[in-house]
Subunit: 320 residues, 4 copies
């Protein structure tokens, strides 16, 4: 019999983003993207979308550089967390336990093969809305305040890596992630890989870093309920002078309806909608796109914009 | 430590619906709802939505009565299936193994406390599109043919039961389902209960059968990608003379954007969109709606239509 | 040869609404509906939607009662205005010239047969956005600020009248309006009438006032670009505790996708979308709905809510 | 006093399109775009969208070349038609009366300065739906059959011209059209001009033909009710192998949400949505875009695709 799927990790929990323009970045995330601040500590501000159930999904940290601080996943139970820690230690990728912060209890940190820092935890702090933020419908974390793009929840993160094939081996072993789609070039190199720990079609994606830098960040994505909300987000970005890199359009890979912008410090942010698409099949076979297929561009023919392959944070010399 | 969540069942797989007007029902499901026929055997026609990955999600069977034949869930592995069979047998609810049909291999059948027939299986037949149905994007089961409402995938089923509280105990024990929302009346009676085995907010719902009949069916739901598609479905139903019972509107419970119609034999069918809402929290606590809260009607104030509480299939004397 | 269509009046220009809760009404129109204040004078505040080209489309006036102050149309030219004044004086409906206000120059006032006050003018003050309100695209009056429902432009007004048949004669004679749709009861009484001066399917509607009061107001409507925006408005109203009377749903008459709420003083306000529907035919024949046809409810079967027939402003004893 | 606006022409009525692949073109227009055939005569097939009120809005004519046969406008009355004929004859642009065809009575033909053939008429044949095409709502020309893109109505036509400035003088004089937007290059040359005879923001556009050919065609556009329908059209084109040139995206000029494809014979076809945007102002001043402004690309930053400036029908040597 084939080995059983692993369900130890529940979901992508939060992303720590570094900014060297903290005031401008905060204004973007709160007033334009529409996140809500739930707390501050040290150089960090904790932010969340109106239907994120935890204390935060974005930890915005003032720093001397941009890019990602760490990526966090929440385990399905303490027992599951212990199993993952054991697996990661066996892989030799562990960093060790940290005490947690405003948003959650103790967490276990590790590196992916590209030196991005991850953490996993179970003990969390769920968001309790203050009076003015209580939703009209009790099955929602916070009222939909309608501010800016008013994104609903964290969706996924996209990282750059020198060796995506190594990631493709590592994450399933470390977290129990499944590869749902990938791009394999004619040379056999893996140019992109999309993985998930649950029924979302992906919660993390890696694309190849052609600069050979390590630990870089491509984008973080928040989900909206409808494709029309992505179009409205485009109008909001336009009216607020936010740089729109590409979109709205529909990806061929994963079929996500996307829109990419840069927040003031240069980190790429996506607003996206996946429609009703989910991976329900427990033995889903990865969809592999060839180099020829990817040359067709996005779903409706839009050519992939050059900066999508070159711009990451922190920027490096060869970035555009 | 609290017990760990169970992940033995992957998803709701298909529903067998009985019709005493097979030709009219088939025309509805194919040309108006937009399903595609994948096979026929005996009195049954196998149907699926364009992004359903299995051979079928609806088995439409000509019969002398309406209502539901059986409800099927797919397990996450053979091992998980064996665990569920053991659990169900321990509950004394088992019927036994059946050999499968055109759509899947052997399956284990059981009764819920209201005598609805369920089956669980792992061995399935995945849909392979014939040349004319091949999708432009290879990460999709079949081309989106755009016929009728062109629903994307099976979403959930809703059954009637005399004792919903009994169901609320049974399904988590049998399938590892989680209760995500429920309605508890002032009397303590459970008027409705929504459960899921995965990250969908629910794949099955039970509402109280006030006629005290057993084994009755409330509705089956197919998902579309956008709320606008539900509105378009309303226009399609209108133009085709399909009886619209209620909607489009947004449910308070689960926030689903809904539209209910009756197919020609009287079985209720829903076209729905859930937006980006998912249950990602591994220790999600059930949301309990009180009688007073439910008297407010649906999310935007629409009063729940009387027939929603009374019409089920097969009809009984006290039905309207 | 048949007489030529009249094009002397360009469009519905603004509505003066009376409120006995001016602070609460202002908060509703600015922060929830999403209008912008362009000026104040005396007891009135001038408001407009972000793509209204004139200084204002809503004049909100503090008063001891609710309902409508006056309704204004803009003429296509000074010559056209003079022709209309002559026609109205011939009808014996004239009140006389007034000097205008913050929003426009001199205007000619008259009564409709139900004693609502109208005015027509040509000389107007076009909106010039201050720096913070300049749009990114210069073909738009003001930036789309995204505040509240962020409605785009004034759409139409609906008044109550004891004798709708009299209105149906009067408005075409006074303004050159065309009747596009109407409801004629089995008794021959006209229960509703929709008229337009341009290619919009209607800019004014009258429905019968069963209380036999005069000069009452039914609702004012602002248009949004998409049906999805009406659904979003419903969520915004829900979260802000605004009373939703009925909708979102699609009218059978005129096919407008509608949502009705009461602003804090009790005046009914609609957020609506007409899709791409226009009256382009220069010899369009009025569509007449019978009593039987109207008993089918709205387009998708929603029964017309009772208060829609009874609630007007100012309220009268027999109102609900 | 300034001269009064002219209202002699009601609307763009139909476009005759030439195809050298008549069977393939017909399949595209009927089964993919979703028009309905209302008649045939000679080499022509008459087609219309489901809410077009006339017998046809597209006359598809088999020919040895592609491009446009003629463009027709309907007058507001017989008297108005006579006035326009007199004006056109005075301009020296007249061709003379023709007897009409299946779709309308006698029409007056003339040339624009780029030698495109136009006709104007008042006497028309309104569409009467056969039993199977009767709409559920009587205020609609035909049932919304939901076939293909199921476009609602003809929207506008775009022609190429060597001298757009000459057109900008001619059409207002000939038809009473108003210039609503234009692109004026730094050289003073007019690169594009958008005109309307009614409240639509434009019913015809001209863009500069850099090949110096005459009488060429750029595209014809059908309107859908919602932006989401444009996105769905993109999926339909994708699944049917139709070449998508560019879009969906939002134009900066006129803000139209657009999608361009080539029908099998190479004529460009647009599916578009204008939201609630109308030109209601009777003294609207043309919006003039500079060369610098237009270099910013479309509303959300999409660069205008090269072929948009070069591909016209019939193709000429310098076309791409």
């Amino acid at each position: 019999m084939t080995p059983e799927p692993i369900h130890d990790i529940a979901h992508l929990a939060h992303v720590e983003l570094l900014t060297d323009k903290p005031a401008e970045s905060l204004d973007f995330f709160v007033n334009i993207l529409g996140l809500t601040e739930s707390g501050r500590e040290g150089d960090s501000i904790y932010l969340r979308a109106w239907d994120d159930y935890e204390f935060h999904t974005l930890k915005l940290t003032a720093a001397s550089r941009t890019g990602v601080g760490h990526i966090a996943y929440r385990a399905t139970s303490e027992q599951a967390l212990a199993r993952r820690v054991a697996a990661i230690e066996k892989l030799g990728a562990g960093i060790g336990w940290v005490g947690g912060d405003l948003g959650h209890g103790r967490a276990y940190r590790f590196h992916d093969p590209d030196r991005h820092v991850f953490e996993i935890y179970f003990d969390t702090r769920k968001y309790t809305p203050p009076p003015g933020e209580r939703p009209a419908l009790k099955n929602q974390a916070q009222r939909n305040h309608g501010r800016g793009c008013a994104v609903r929840r964290l969706d996924h993160v996209n990282l750059l890596a020198r060796d995506v094939a190594a990631i493709r081996e590592f994450l399933p072993a470390a977290l129990g992630s499944r590869v749902t789609e990938q791009i394999v070039l004619d040379s056999g190199a893996v140019a992109g890989c999309w993985l998930t720990v649950n029924n979302k079609t992906y919660d993390i994606a890696y694309t190849r870093d052609f600069t050979n830098s390590e630990g870089r960040f491509h984008h973080v994505t928040y989900a909206v309920d409808q494709r029309e909300h992505v179009l409205e987000a485009a109008d909001i970005f336009l009216e607020n002078g936010v740089f729109i890199e590409t979109g709205p359009h529909k990806h061929a890979v994963q079929q996500t309806f996307f829109l990419y912008v840069y927040e003031p410090a240069g980190n790429r942010v996506e607003v996206a909608n996946a429609g009703a698409r989910l991976i329900l099949d427990p033995d889903w076979q990865p969809v592999t796109w060839t180099e020829t297929e990817r040359k067709k561009g996005q779903a409706w023919g839009l050519k992939t914009i050059e900066s999508f392959h070159t711009h990451g944070t922190p920027p490096v010399a060869s970035d555009h």
